[in-house]
């Protein structure tokens, strides 16, 4: 399954027509220990690159942007009680929400895994 990334370090992975989104391993590492995840409301419609969630860590509070436009159809309640999952498994268990994408053409505004690795390589 191809994973795409934003410049703001969110990832999105398509499965059966819906998209899981979260923050990248790199972002989780930069943030340090995550202490709180503010989840988006279920059913909310978001636009690509619009802020839809927030993450607080011991270092900073950061906005999380939607990698694709669409409707939030599922949120990861576990993160409310156990924000440390974001540090333990950012690109897998710590998915933040599932989106029902409204326009898959928007994938072309995102980076592939290889492109993202090159992009963040320049940020170290």
């Amino acid at each position: 399954m191809e994973t795409y990334f934003t410049k703001e370090h969110e990832w999105v992975r398509m499965k059966d027509g819906v998209a899981a989104v979260g923050i990248s391993d790199f972002a989780a590492h930069q943030l340090g220990d995550v202490t709180f995840v503010e989840l988006p409301p279920l059913g909310k419609s978001v636009k690509q690159f619009e802020q839809f969630a927030a993450i607080e860590s011991v270092k900073a509070a950061s906005d999380i942007y939607a990698p694709l436009s669409g409707k939030i159809i599922k949120i990861n309640d576990l993160l409310e009680e156990s924000p440390e999952i974001v540090n333990e498994s950012p690109e897998d268990a710590a998915w933040i929400a599932w989106l029902e994408p409204s326009n898959l053409d928007e994938l072309k505004n995102l980076m592939t895994q290889a492109q993202y690795e090159e992009f963040r390589g320049g940020m170290e």
Binding site: D33, T35, F36, V58, A60, A61, P83
Partner: protein, 480 residues
């Protein structure tokens, strides 16, 4: 150290009042009475005095140590200004608001008016309200004034632009008032990217919020241009006065095009911070925004100072009474003590001190934006991070050496940032000792990086588990 509640012993008293020998007042209505005892600690007078004296001895303050906390302007609080504040202890804050009360409060009103006029002169604004209780409250008041201005003109505005180096309170204040935030990245020259700003500007932008010098402690060479571009879209320019200490008496933000400004009296004007404060965040505006200022507004006429209490265009009252009055007395005393020449020397010395520290530490810590700085300098611990020593570890080292750590991890755009603001009130000797300790920390990071894990070693508590403290908060005394 025990909490005062843990020292409580049933029946112990500080003061025993004699039995009342006057008739009891009418009893309070039952619904106003407590259902259970208030749960106050029961301690003797001596217990109380020792408890608070010992607490105060653990306090860290500008009065005890060097406090180079970047962006907070922890300058010495001149004690003479405290004497001024004490003069007003007998004045009731409601007095000027009572019918016929104004003539009896002319001194206090003259002081508030005098302070507001001085601040307007220092910042190049038409008028200043002293109501806001702190910097962030000033920001919110300022953005409300901007919103009122656009509403009165029938402008349809949705966005507020902030640079990514801004204080977090800037976007937060604008969002609280209902605006969406557009963030502009920082260019390699260390300030808001002018091209990105130009591209983001549109007719729906209500305001651009700038901190000058910015949070990297750098002068922005494009301010005038940014203000001109914003004004061409009828967007207003907001000046966050957090860093005014660098330019006070040198530049008036109003002269370069800013329309609204907030000041932090507890930073620039030498009044105590936080628990020793409180704060005060006056807001100044240009002529076009004066009608929207909070009420009551202090106006001078032939008979003296009166209060304007009605004005349909005003955003209304933003604080009880007249804001934190005691702070204003101290700030006004500070301004009068220093005078025009003194205030200019404040910013000159503040900038000189910061550049001295920057120049002396440059060889030992990375300086990602290597330019002449203003009142503070921002290093990165990235060189030390390679040895596993982070900004936080260096901060802990400094605590053991008797220094308040600089601001760390801010601004966010600098990795492992260490932001140092010495202020004008520190001597070269104090700074030299601090510089020496910073160099020792850099050397220890090379020779024995593992040593930092056990620091601080001299404090009542050592390394705190910040993550656990944030994740499982227990803010209540276990016995309550």
């Amino acid at each position: 150290m025990q909490l005062i509640y843990e020292q409580s012993i049933d029946g112990r008293r500080g003061v025993r009042l004699p039995a009342s020998d006057v008739p009891a007042a009418l009893p309070l209505p039952a619904e106003l009475l407590r259902k259970e005892a208030a749960g106050l600690p029961e301690v003797s007078e001596l217990d109380t005095v020792r408890h608070f004296t010992n607490l105060s001895r653990r306090n860290f303050s500008v009065d005890t140590h060097f406090y180079p906390l970047g962006s907070c302007t922890m300058k010495y609080n001149v004690k003479a200004t405290e004497n001024g504040a004490a003069l007003f202890n007998g004045e009731h804050p409601l007095l000027p608001l009572l019918p016929g009360g104004e003539p009896h409060a002319q001194g206090s009103l003259a002081l508030l008016h005098g302070l507001a006029t001085s601040l307007a002169e220092i910042t190049g604004m038409a008028e200043v309200t002293t109501q806001p209780l702190a910097g962030a409250h000033g920001e919110m008041t300022g953005i409300m004034l901007i919103a009122a201005y656009h509403k009165a003109k029938g402008n349809k505005k949705r966005y507020v632009i902030v640079p990514d180096s801004s204080h977090g309170t800037n976007p937060a204040s604008a969002a609280m008032v209902g605006y969406e935030i557009i963030t502009i990245p920082t260019a390699p020259y260390g300030d808001m990217d002018l091209d990105a700003f130009r591209a983001a500007m549109n007719n729906e932008v209500a305001a651009v919020m700038m901190t000058c010098p910015n949070t990297l402690g750098l002068f922005n060479p494009h301010i005038k241009e940014i203000c001109d571009i914003a004004h061409s879209f009828d967007a207003l320019c907001y000046y966050d006065g957090a860093n005014l200490n660098a330019i006070m008496g040198k530049v008036r933000p109003g002269d370069v095009g800013f329309d609204v400004i907030h000041l932090n009296l507890h930073k620039t004007f030498g009044t105590p911070h936080g628990g020793g404060g409180p704060g005060s965040g006056p807001v100044g505006v240009k002529e076009a925004l004066v009608p929207f200022l909070p009420l009551p507004r202090i106006v001078k006429n032939d008979s003296g100072f009166i209060l304007e209490t009605t004005n349909p265009a005003s955003i209304g009252r933003t604080a009880n009474f007249f804001g934190n009055f005691g702070v204003m007395v101290k700030a006004y005393a500070y301004i009068l003590l220093l005078g025009r020449e003194g205030l200019i020397r404040v910013s000159e010395q503040a900038v000189l001190n910061a550049n001295y520290i920057m120049a002396r530490l440059k060889g030992h810590y990375d300086l990602p934006y290597d330019f002449t700085c203003m009142h503070e300098c921002v290093f990165s611990a990235s060189r030390q991070v390679k040895q596993g020593v982070h900004a936080l570890d260096i901060a802990k080292y400094l605590i053991d050496q008797g220094y308040h750590p600089p601001t760390v991890y801010f601004p966010l755009i600098v990795k492992d940032a260490i932001m140092i603001e010495p202020t004008e009130t520190e001597s070269k000797a104090t700074m030299d000792l601090f510089i020496q300790v910073m160099i020792q920390a850099a050397e220890l990071a090379e020779s024995d990086p593992g040593a930092f894990a056990a620091l601080p070693a001299t404090m009542p508590v050592s390394r705190l588990d910040e993550t656990r403290a944030a994740r499982s908060q227990q803010v209540c005394f276990a016995g309550c």
